[in-house]
């Protein structure tokens, strides 16, 4: 039996840590030290034991001394106590130190190209040389305004129906060809309306659908992009009336009669995931606590049941389709009204019973008193009821901090300070012109906030977010200008061990495993440094040993093959274009700087730069293959480094 050094460490240290944890947990349980939403309450007076737990927590720095983060938004300001089964786990404390009372204003022009690239890597799918030039010329604010004003790129639906089918022939309709993914990859990798697409990607991770293949994915890609610069309330409207969500959360054809009860799926998840979350929040995202120090639920099962009665009577105008499709494949002639509207109608079998939820009561509609043929009245009432429900959620005090924190995590940092969350939530409440839920104002605050822009406002030990597999893959392809020569970027191809070319089985576009997304906003690893510090690292939930193995294999294989993951038919081969980096290929220091600028801007790259230069210098010669090899080495070493994988 090999008993190497590491085994020895495990065998000695492991049990000690485990023992301390088990002792703490047992002790805390038995002595009634409960972590009630963060403020430790001692039920049984026992000073020596209390002291002991505190001392152990401090001296061991043990992750068990704080609970996990949970899936909910929310941070908390009190100190942590022992985490105990049966009680809500302690959420993370504020990760970053609170910025000074009056954060210094953000300079609108980046001081350096590195600063411009760092901003672009938060706001787009990857900084290219041209993007950096543009931000240097315009400044942050004007660049954002330019993006806001930019024409909406072609729809995924158009790509799917027209471009794709024309350029790819019958293969395009092969259900295994990943055509929806290719539509998305092409848009985000190559097209200019980057901020809209990045926001759409963020919204798609809050309002999650994953229903099947076919047309549902392009519908959702378009819906999120269409509403990326709109308002939150309008987003809720579009989401609720989309047949794709109707299918995803099973409220298509939802009824409140015939001996059946309404389906509660949407009522529950629209509250838990799309608007108010499980626990009452302060405006800065910290949990409200009751007099006993416990978190306060935002809703009860009775609210779920009451709301479920509202989401009834919804189906397509043609009625028959229960799969949430709008007939892209069957109705390419585009004559069916459902095809273009792709929106649910309210039918007269919507529930007319009395409903109450979240303090709102809607009286019953007495159908017996209506004249004959009053279907339109019932339909209008059903539509009005849905409006009341969505207004209630959009106007709830929890919604601004809940959505603010979720969006911050998608763009800039996993562990924003309460002050940062509060500033973004304030913009959600009022964009300055009295409009609530204006995504443009929210986005601008997220990206221009002092905590996003000024390194002096960031705690370097915790700031940043782990790049998720798809963002890493797209950025890589974007910087190396991947294309099939016809303007398409393929996700990869079948027949490849690397799942469909997407670098891991964990994250395929618009195919999260459930409405709970690929990862949860409150995920906190069980062990390691983030656990010790009680940080959340959502993307770590899908960054396990197989995921990093897959990533390295994907990068190496695509560099080996000049852009394509593996053979999968000539039509679906990407080719890299190294032209952005070739001018620097004979100067190791310059090449290292240009690669680091694009991929790792914002990280402390001094040590990595040394490694890159030594590795680049090891390949001599001015032949084309020597130059390309130097570029490949610089790219590969960077893409596997933590300086790249952690976006700052």
């Amino acid at each position: 039996m090999p008993t190497g050094h590491s085994n020895l460490t495990i065998n000695i240290v492991g049990p000690l840590i485990a023992l301390i944890y088990l002792l703490l947990r047992a002790h805390a349980e038995k002595s009634g030290i409960a972590n009630n939403g963060g403020s430790r309450v001692i039920f049984v007076s026992n000073p020596p034991n209390k002291l002991r737990v505190a001392v152990l927590c401090l001296s061991v720095g043990l992750s068990a001394c704080g609970g996990g983060g949970g899936g909910d938004a929310g941070t908390q300001t009190s100190t942590q106590g022992a985490s105990i089964g049966g009680q809500p786990p302690s959420p993370p404390p504020p990760a970053s130190p609170s910025p000074p009372a009056s954060p210094s204003p953000t300079a609108d022009k980046p001081a350096t190209r590195v600063e411009a690239a760092r901003f672009l890597n938060q706001a787009t799918f990857g900084a290219t040389g041209a993007d950096i030039d543009r931000v240097m010329a315009l400044g942050y604010s004007a660049w954002i305004d330019e993006q806001f004003a930019m024409a909406r790129g072609r729809t995924h639906r158009d790509w799917y129906l027209e471009d794709g089918s024309k350029s790819n022939g019958p293969e395009y309709f092969d259900p295994n060809s990943d055509r929806e993914s290719a539509a998305w990859f092409t848009r985000v990798t190559r097209e200019p309306d980057q901020l809209r697409l990045r926001m759409a990607w963020a919204l798609s991770q809050i309002f999650v659908t994953n229903t099947g293949g076919g047309e549902n994915k392009p519908i959702w890609m378009d819906l999120t992009a269409d509403n990326a610069f709109g308002t939150y309330r309008n987003m809720l409207q579009k989401v609720t009336f989309s047949p794709v969500m109707g299918n995803m959360l099973s409220y298509l054809w939802n009824q409140d009669n015939n001996g059946a009860v309404p389906d509660q799926n949407y009522a529950r998840e629209i509250m838990q995931l799309f608007s108010i979350g499980l626990w009452q929040l302060n405006q800065d995202g910290t949990f409200k606590l009751d007099s006993a120090g416990k978190r306060i639920p935002t809703y009860s099962q009775a609210d779920v049941v009451g709301l479920s009665s509202v989401f009834t009577g919804l189906a397509l105008s043609s009625g028959g389709d229960r799969q949430g499709t709008c007939g892209f494949e069957k109705r390419v002639s585009q004559v069916d009204p459902d095809f273009n509207a792709c929106e649910l109608s309210v039918w007269p079998w919507t529930s007319t019973k009395a409903k109450s939820f979240l303090g709102v009561s809607i009286p019953a509609l007495d159908v017996s008193k209506l004249p004959a043929n009053s279907e339109a009245v019932i339909e209008a009432q059903g539509r009005k009821n849905i409006g009341i429900a969505l207004d209630t959620l959009a106007n709830h005090t929890n919604t601004p901090p809940f959505i603010a924190r979720n969006l911050i995590q998608r763009f800039t940092t996993s562990n924003p300070s309460p002050a940062y969350v509060g500033r973004v939530a304030d913009k959600f409440v009022d964009n300055g012109n009295g409009v609530r839920g204006d995504f443009k104002a929210v986005l601008k605050q997220i990206l221009l906030d002092p905590e996003a822009r000024n390194s002096s406002q960031q705690d370097k030990a915790v700031y940043g977010k782990l790049r998720e597999p798809l963002l890493a893959q797209v950025q890589y392809n974007r910087v190396l200008r991947a294309s099939d020569g016809k303007g398409n970027v393929w996700a990869g191809s079948g027949g490849c061990k690397i799942y469909h070319g997407v670098i891991s089985e964990f994250e395929r576009p618009f195919a999260a495993p459930s409405v709970f997304n690929y990862y949860r906003p409150g995920f906190s690893p069980a062990s390691g440094e983030a656990a010790k510090r009680n940080l959340v690292v959502p993307e770590m939930q899908i960054t396990d040993t197989v995921a990093v193995m897959d990533w390295a294999t994907y990068v190496k294989q695509t560099l080996d093959r000049g852009g394509t993951g593996c053979s999968g038919g000539a039509r679906r081969q990407n080719t890299f274009d190294y032209s952005e980096l070739l001018p620097f290929a004979d100067n190791p220091a310059l090449l290292a700087d240009e690669v680091l600028l694009r991929f790792a801007a914002g990280s402390d790259t001094q040590v990595l730069r040394g490694s890159l230069i030594r590795a680049i210098e090891s390949v001599s010669g001015t032949t084309s293959s020597a130059r390309i090899n130097r570029i490949k080495i610089a790219v590969m070493l960077t893409l596997l480094s933590p300086e790249y994988r952690v976006q700052r």
């Binding site: 008993t3 088990l22 040993t545 197989v546």
Partner: protein, 471 residues
């Protein structure tokens, strides 16, 4: 706050005193005892098959006696129920007061294994902090646990006994207490498939992922020259082994990479040595091919587990836990068709394949597979599916299982009766068994000492018996 009994108080003092003295004798003693019991060939593993979404207990184990069959059909309008004539009631060793139940006809292999005494049914268990009754809930004297109804919290409840965000699961904690059974614990807890679960993580024992398709390689670029340069390869190695990073995310990302670098070789050896083990049938004339076989990622994941078990010597383990996530049990809509065209076919194939393969390896008494789900589902139909419930059903499979019996009470399908509560909505099943009893029984079989069970399962002592006797 519940009252502490004297035994708990003395236990607190005992553990607390040991900690205060800086000694670690309780666990050390426990580990010594485990080591003494550990003899060559006594390998044991638990395989957790999580049925993600909330398994509908009434569609899985269908009431069969005429009264209750008629009653469930009446509750399930719009949901296609199998004809009673298509059902075969399960033999019962324990009287159920005349009530009978049958597996859904598509769970034929599960039924056979049950009748062979290899599979036990656990019925009516759920998330409970303390025993409850309908009247106590209606009188507000006992509250439903806050996790009930929420997927994430109920998922956390059965796997960690906390709410969502709890970091440590009972599989990982069980392995924490059994570390001395293994020469090392890199592979003490293995996850297979795309979805990780805190079940797998202890404080000391960390989950290692095994690729469903048996791929285990080093980080590309570390072995041999990289694009013609051995310097590049060496620099990549240095980049991934940096110890001076201070940002928590940097450190943890490096940690995952280093875990690949230190584990891939043994895992690769294990997979290489088991390439022909328990091949997945390719006979296209098999019933339900390809859903049950070719395209069944659960069978593929189960096969990966079998390959790891066969390689236990290479992986240095004598005690082990595995976790597999099987998706799509959240059957709010289109329930009958989804279960019948897909999930039941895949689940039944996986159960049959697993036991048959284990028996062929001669390890059927050493490995126990069990299912979990966050909750059962609501009694009434919502039109074509069911909503989140509370109490549910699970299966436990293996040669060590005292199978062929239902543990827990079959109930009368009467929404007004004592087995259901409808306080805040449509009726749901009240659990009569705590998940803590269910899981403690499994952990105990794996080797967790009685004294540590209440630590891992915090409310266990509020229930009697603390173990259900199916193992």
């Amino acid at each position: 706050m519940h009252m502490l009994n004297s035994a708990q108080l003395s236990r607190r003092n005992f553990l607390g005193g040991a900690a205060l003295l800086g000694g670690f004798s309780p666990l050390a003693l426990q580990m010594a005892a485990t080591a003494a019991n550990a003899q060559a060939g006594d390998y044991r593993a638990l395989v957790c098959l999580y049925l993600d979404g909330g398994l509908d207990h009434f569609h899985t184990l269908i009431p069969y006696d005429q009264t209750n069959y008629s009653a469930i059909v009446a509750q399930r309008s719009g949901i296609k129920m199998p004809a009673r004539s298509a059902l075969t009631p399960l033999s019962l060793r324990t009287s159920q007061g005349g009530r009978q139940a049958a597996f859904h006809p598509l769970l034929g292999q599960a039924r056979q294994l049950y009748e062979q005494g290899k599979l036990a049914v656990i019925y009516g268990h759920g998330t409970l902090d303390e025993p409850v009754t309908r009247s106590a809930i209606e009188a507000n004297s006992i509250k439903q646990p806050s996790a009930v109804g929420s997927h994430n919290d109920s998922n956390a409840a059965i796997h960690t006994f906390g709410l969502e965000g709890a970091r440590y699961g009972w599989g990982g904690l069980a392995m924490d207490s059994l570390q001395s059974s293994n020469s090392d614990n890199v592979f003490a807890s293995i996850g297979v498939g795309a979805l990780n679960n805190p079940f797998s993580d202890g404080v000391a024992v960390q989950m290692t992922k095994a690729d469903t398709w048996g791929r285990a390689v080093n980080i590309e670029g570390l072995d041999g020259a990289l694009f013609g340069s051995s310097v590049a390869s060496a620099e990549l190695n240095a980049i991934l082994k940096r110890a001076d990073m201070t940002n928590a995310l940097d450190k943890d990302y490096l940690g995952v990479n280093q875990r690949v670098m230190s584990s891939y070789k043994r895992l690769g050896d294990a997979f290489a040595a088991t390439q022909s083990l328990a091949p997945i049938p390719t006979d296209t004339t098999l019933p339900n091919y390809p859903v049950a076989w070719r395209d069944n990622d659960v069978v593929a994941a189960v096969r990966t587990v079998l390959r790891c078990i066969a390689s236990r010597t290479t992986l240095n383990v004598n005690r082990q836990v595995f976790f597999i996530n099987m998706r799509n049990f959240d059957t709010h809509g289109n329930m009958a068709a989804d279960l019948e065209n897909n999930n039941f076919l895949r689940l039944d194939a996986a159960l049959g394949y697993f036991y048959k393969s284990l028996a062929a390896m001669g390890l059927e008494n050493n490995v126990t597979l069990f299912t979990t789900s966050e909750f059962g589902r609501s009694l009434k139909s919502n039109g074509d599916g069911t909503d989140h419930g509370w109490g549910g059903v699970s299966m436990v499979l293996g040669g060590a299982v005292k199978g062929g019996d239902i543990y827990g009470n079959l109930v009368d399908v009467n929404p007004s009766g004592p087995s259901f509560v409808a306080k805040n909505g449509p009726p749901i099943s009240i659990p009569t068994i705590s998940n803590q009893q269910y899981c403690a029984t499994l952990a105990s079989w794996l080797g967790v000492s009685n004294s540590l069970l209440p630590t891992i399962f915090p409310n266990l002592n509020r229930f009697s018996p603390t173990k259900l006797g199916f193992l």
